[in-house]
C-alpha cells in the first residue's frame, strides 16, 4: 500500500515506534505477548505490501514450525521428556521454548520488513542530517552512486558487444574474466572523471564554505506530537508492568508463565494498543475518507 497513513508521519515518530516494537519483541518472551506481536506486525505487513505479500506471510509458517521442532534437538533441558533418541531427551519444555524462539524470530522478520518499507533511505538520512550532516551527505551520495554505476556497467557491456568485444563468442572463463575486468576498469575511470565534475559542482554551490545545515522535508505536526505522547505513555505502562513481573515467562527447566489476569490485563492492552497504532491509523483514515466521501 503506497499511501500508508503511518508512513506519512514524521520519520522520527516512525523510528520511535519501531524501536519500541522491536525492543519489546525481543525482551518479552511471554507467549501471549508474542502472539499479539505477530498479529499486529502481520496485519501491518499485509497493509503495507498488499496481496503480493501474502506469499511471504505464508512462508513464515514452515519457518515457524522448523525452528520450533529444531530447538529441542540442540536444547535438551527441561523436565518432561517426551521421547529419547540416540540417548538424547526431547523435552516438552524445550519444545515450548522453541515455540517462543520461533515466534520471536518471525516477529523480528515481520517488524524489520515493515521497517524497510516505512523508513526509506531518504528518511533515514534526513534523520541523520541534523546529527551528522556530512555523514548523511556521504550516505546520500552512496545511495545515488550505486544504481548509477550499475546502469553504466550495463551500457558499457552492451556497447562492447555491439563492436564484437562482448562475451558472447567467448567460452573460456579467462576471457570472460578479462572482459569483466575491462568493464570494471572503464567504470572506475568514468566514475573518477564524473566525481571531478561532482566535486566542482559541490564547491561551486558553497560546500565547505560554512557549517552545513540539513533541510528537513518532514515537519513535526500536531498529529506527530500527539502520537509521540500516546506512544510514550503506552510504553511507560508496558515498562511498569514488565518491571513488576506481570509479563514474565520462564520455560526452562520448568514452565513458569505469569497468567494474564487482574491488573496485568492493563499491561497487555497497552502493549497491543501500541503495536496496533499503524493499523489503527490506516483504518481511521479509510473510515474518515468514506465519511467525507459520503458527504460529497
Amino acid at each position: 500500500m503506497k499511501d500508508d497513513a503511518f508512513s506519512k508521519l514524521h520519520p522520527a515518530v516512525n523510528v520511535l515506534f519501531f524501536i519500541g516494537a522491536i525492543c519489546f519483541g525481543v525482551l518479552l518472551q511471554h507467549p501471549v505477548y508474542l502472539l499479539a506481536g505477530i498479529f499486529a506486525s502481520g496485519v501491518y505487513y499485509f497493509l503495507l505490501g498488499g496481496r503480493k505479500e501474502i506469499k511471504n506471510l505464508l512462508l513464515m509458517i514452515p519457518l515457524f514450525i522448523f525452528i520450533t521442532l529444531f530447538n529441542p534437538i540442540v536444547n535438551t533441558r527441561g523436565v518432561t521428556v517426551l521421547f529419547t533418541y540416540f540417548d538424547r531427551p526431547y523435552t516438552l519444555e524445550a519444545l515450548i521454548y522453541g515455540v517462543a524462539v520461533a515466534a520471536t524470530f518471525v516477529l523480528m522478520i515481520l517488524w524489520f520488513g515493515c521497517y524497510g518499507k516505512v523508513l526509506t533511505g531518504d528518511k533515514v538520512t534526513c534523520l541523520f542530517g541534523n546529527l551528522a550532516p556530512s555523514l548523511s551527505l556521504l550516505l546520500v551520495m552512496v545511495f545515488r552512486m550505486i544504481p548509477n554505476l550499475l546502469q553504466k556497467a550495463k551500457q558499457i557491456i552492451g556497447v562492447r558487444s555491439s563492436i564484437g568485444k562482448g562475451t558472447a563468442g567467448k567460452s573460456s572463463i579467462k576471457d570472460k574474466l578479462g572482459s569483466g575486468m575491462t568493464v570494471i576498469g572503464v567504470l572506475t575511470s568514468w566514475a573518477l572523471e564524473g566525481s571531478i565534475t561532482t566535486s566542482d559542482s559541490m564547491r561551486s554551490r558553497g560546500y565547505g564554505a560554512t557549517k552545513r545545515t540539513s533541510f528537513m522535508v518532514y515537519r513535526m505536526t500536531k498529529t506527530d506530537w500527539v502520537l509521540t505522547l500516546i506512544m510514550l505513555t503506552l510504553l511507560g505502562i508496558v515498562v511498569f508492568f514488565a518491571a513488576n513481573g506481570g509479563m514474565n515467562a520462564e520455560f526452562l527447566p520448568e514452565r513458569n508463565i505469569t497468567p494474564i489476569n487482574g491488573f496485568n490485563v492493563i499491561g497487555f492492552i497497552a502493549y497491543l494498543g501500541y503495536l496496533m497504532i499503524p493499523t489503527i491509523l490506516n483504518v481511521k483514515e479509510v473510515i474518515q475518507w468514506n465519511i467525507s466521501e459520503s458527504k460529497i
Binding site: 551527505l137 555491439s162 568514468w190
Partner: protein
C-alpha cells in the same frame, strides 16, 4: 554598474607553458546583461568562464585581474561567491550530488548554512518557478536529461545568484529540451534581471535575444559586439565560426542580401517577402522521389515488437524498415520514442519478442555468436566514452586490430592522426566522437549504425564529421543514423524516416520529408517555405535566391 571587469587576463596551463590559453583578455560585463560567448572548441571559452569563480579556477600561471562588483574576485569570500555567482556545467548527470530532487534543490542552501524556514520558502519558490512540483519527491535517477539540467539550474537559482554562468548547458540535451532550457534562462534574465553569461553551440535559440556576443579564438577575444554586427564581422573575416551562426544570418550573407540582417526565422521570412514581392520564377529545388522497392536491402526490419519489461508498455510497435546498400539513412523523431532501441535491437542488445531482422538477406539469429560484428554490423554509441577502455587513443585502436596499415588508414579517414598519444578523456566532444568512430571502423563494418552522432559537437566539427561519413559512403558502407539533429539530417542524409509511436511512419528524401512538414523541419525551411518549395538547407535557399536574382538582374 559593472558586474564583472576583467583586465588584461592571461593564463597558461601548467602542461603547455608556451601556449597561452587566455591571451590578454579584457572585458566588462554590466549588471543584467545577457552575453553569449562563442568560439570553436578549445578557443578558451571554458577557461575564461571558470576564471569567474575562484573555486573553479584552473591551476596555472596567471596575470591580470578580475573584479566582481568592484572588488577583486580573490578578496571576495567563498560564501559570497557561492551564493552570488551561479555556475551550470555541461554534464547534467555528474553535477547532481544527492539522490532526491528536493534534496538537490536544497543542497546549496544547506551548504550556506541557511535555517529551515528560509530553506523551506526558497525551495518551494524554486520548485514552483521551474515547474518542479510534480517531480519534487522523485529520485533523480528517473529524470530525463532535460529535467536534470533544469534541476541543476533551479538548485543554483535557489541561492538567488546575481550572475548565472552557463558552460554549454544544453550540449547533452535533445533539441526540444535544449530549447526549453534556454527559454528558462532567458526568462530568468528578463524577469529577474540576473546577469547571464553563456556559451553554446546552438546559437539559433539564444543569438537573437543576447545583448552582446563575444567571439573567442585561441584565447583571445576577436569580436565583442551586438549579435547583428557579429554576423557581419565573421562573414567579412571569412571566419570558420560563421558556420555556427543561425540559419537566417548565414542565408542572408551567403546570398549577398541587402538591408538589415535577419536574426530569427520571423525576420528571415519578412526579409524574403520583401525580396520576392513578385513570385520567384524558379521556386523549387528539384528532387527525386524515393524508390519504395529496394532490391537486396542491406538491412531489413520487419514488424519488430519490443518491451523492456514484462509489464511495461511496448517501445517498438511493429517497426518495419528497409535500408538500401551504400546510402546514408536517418531516423528522426521525438525523445524516448524508441529510435535508439531500434538500433539496439539490430545489434542484439535488445531482443524483440516478435518480428524479423535481416542483414544482407540473412536473419540475424542465423549469424553465429560474434560473427555479426565482424566485417558486418557495428554501432557507434551515443556516449563515445563508453567505448574507451585504454589510456591512449593509439592503444584503443590497437585493441581492435594488430594490422598497422588498417589503423593508419582509419586514423587518416577520421582525422585523428594528431590525437593518437592523448588520453581519450582529454579530447573534446567532437574529437572523442571521431576517435570512437575510428575504433568502430576497425571492425570493418559494411553497415554502420550511429546513435546521435552529432550530440555535443559544434557546427565546425559537424562539417568535418559529415565529410568523413560521405567518404565512408563512397567506400560502399551503408550508414544508418538516429538523430535529433534535423539540420544535419536534412543536409547529409539520403533518406529520412520519421519515427513515431513505436513505428516508422514515413520514409522520404530530406527535401520531400522536411519540405512537407511545417513544424518538424529545419530553420531554413521554416524561413523560406512561403517563397520556395523544398528548400530545406541554408545552401538550398541561397541557391534558389541566387538563381532568381541572377535571372532577374
Amino acid at each position: 554598474m559593472e558586474h564583472f571587469r576583467i583586465e588584461n587576463l592571461s593564463f597558461y596551463y601548467p602542461t603547455s607553458k608556451d601556449k597561452k590559453s587566455l591571451d590578454n583578455v579584457s572585458l566588462k560585463i554590466e549588471k543584467g546583461e545577457y552575453i553569449v560567448l562563442c568560439g570553436k572548441s578549445g578557443s578558451g571559452k571554458t577557461t575564461l568562464l571558470r576564471h569567474l569563480k575562484t573555486v573553479l579556477t584552473p591551476h596555472g600561471k596567471r596575470t591580470g585581474e578580475i573584479l566582481f562588483n568592484g572588488v577583486s574576485l580573490n578578496d571576495t569570500d567563498n560564501r559570497e561567491q557561492s551564493s552570488k555567482i551561479g555556475y551550470v556545467m555541461q554534464n547534467p548527470d555528474d553535477q547532481i550530488v544527492t539522490d532526491k530532487v528536493w534534496h538537490e534543490l536544497a543542497f546549496g542552501l544547506e551548504s550556506l548554512g541557511c535555517g529551515q524556514k528560509t530553506m523551506r520558502s526558497r525551495v518551494a519558490e524554486m520548485a514552483c518557478y521551474f515547474g518542479i512540483q510534480d517531480w519534487f519527491h522523485r529520485d533523480v535517477a528517473v529524470l530525463s536529461g532535460g529535467q536534470k539540467q533544469l534541476l541543476n539550474l533551479a538548485s543554483i537559482m535557489a541561492m538567488q545568484p546575481e550572475v548565472l554562468i552557463l558552460d554549454e548547458p544544453t550540449s547533452q540535451l535533445d533539441p526540444i529540451a535544449a530549447s526549453d532550457f534556454l527559454n528558462t534562462v532567458r526568462k530568468i534574465n528578463t524577469e529577474l534581471g540576473t546577469t547571464v553569461i553563456i556559451t553554446e553551440h546552438r546559437l539559433e535559440d539564444i543569438f537573437p535575444y543576447a545583448d552582446r556576443a563575444i567571439v573567442m579564438d585561441s584565447g583571445r577575444i576577436i569580436a565583442d559586439d551586438t549579435p547583428r554586427n557579429i554576423g557581419k564581422l565573421l562573414y567579412e573575416q571569412n571566419n570558420p565560426m560563421f558556420t555556427a551562426m543561425p540559419t537566417p544570418v548565414r542565408v542572408f550573407y551567403n546570398a549577398d542580401g541587402d538591408g538589415d540582417c535577419p536574426l530569427t526565422v520571423r525576420e528571415g521570412r519578412a526579409w524574403l517577402n520583401k525580396e520576392f514581392e513578385i513570385k520567384p520564377q524558379i521556386a523549387e529545388i528539384p528532387c527525386k522521389n524515393i524508390d519504395d522497392d529496394i532490391e537486396n536491402p542491406a538491412l531489413s526490419l520487419k514488424e519488430l515488437w519490443f518491451r523492456y519489461e514484462k509489464d511495461t508498455p511496448d517501445i517498438l510497435r511493429g517497426v518495419s524498415l528497409e535500408i538500401p546498400k551504400g546510402s546514408i539513412s536517418a531516423i528522426v523523431g521525438g525523445n524516448g520514442a524508441g529510435k535508439s532501441t531500434t538500433l539496439k535491437a539490430i545489434c542484439g542488445i535488445c531482443k524483440p519478442y516478435r518480428g524479423r531482422i535481416k542483414v544482407f538477406g540473412k536473419p540475424v539469429n542465423k549469424f553465429k555468436s560474434g560473427e555479426l560484428f565482424k566485417n558486418c554490423v557495428s554501432m557507434l554509441p551515443q556516449d563515445p566514452k563508453s567505448l574507451f577502455v585504454k589510456s591512449k587513443v593509439s592503444d584503443e585502436l590497437a585493441e581492435m586490430t594488430k594490422d598497422k596499415n588498417k589503423i593508419n588508414e582509419v586514423t587518416e579517414t577520421c582525422q585523428i592522426t594528431d590525437l593518437m598519444n592523448n588520453h581519450p578523456y582529454d579530447l573534446s566532444g567532437g574529437e572523442q566522437q571521431r576517435a570512437a568512430l575510428a575504433k568502430v571502423l576497425l571492425t570493418e563494418p559494411k553497415i554502420l549504425l550511429l546513435d546521435e552522432p552529432t550530440k555535443g559537437m559544434d557546427s565546425f566539427f559537424k562539417e568535418t564529421f559529415a565529410t568523413i561519413l560521405n567518404k565512408l559512403k563512397s567506400q560502399g558502407i551503408t550508414i544508418l543514423m538516429v538523430s535529433h539533429d534535423v539540420e544535419f539530417c536534412a543536409k547529409y542524409a539520403d533518406r529520412v524516416s520519421m519515427f513515431f509511436d513505436g513505428q516508422i511512419l514515413t520514409t522520404e528524401t530530406p527535401q520531400n520529408f522536411f519540405g512537407s512538414n511545417s513544424f518538424y523541419t529545419t530553420a531554413a525551411n521554416r524561413m523560406s517555405k512561403h517563397v520556395f518549395k523544398n528548400a530545406v538547407t541554408a545552401e538550398n535557399v541561397v541557391e534558389l535566391y541566387r538563381k532568381n536574382k541572377g535571372g532577374t538582374v
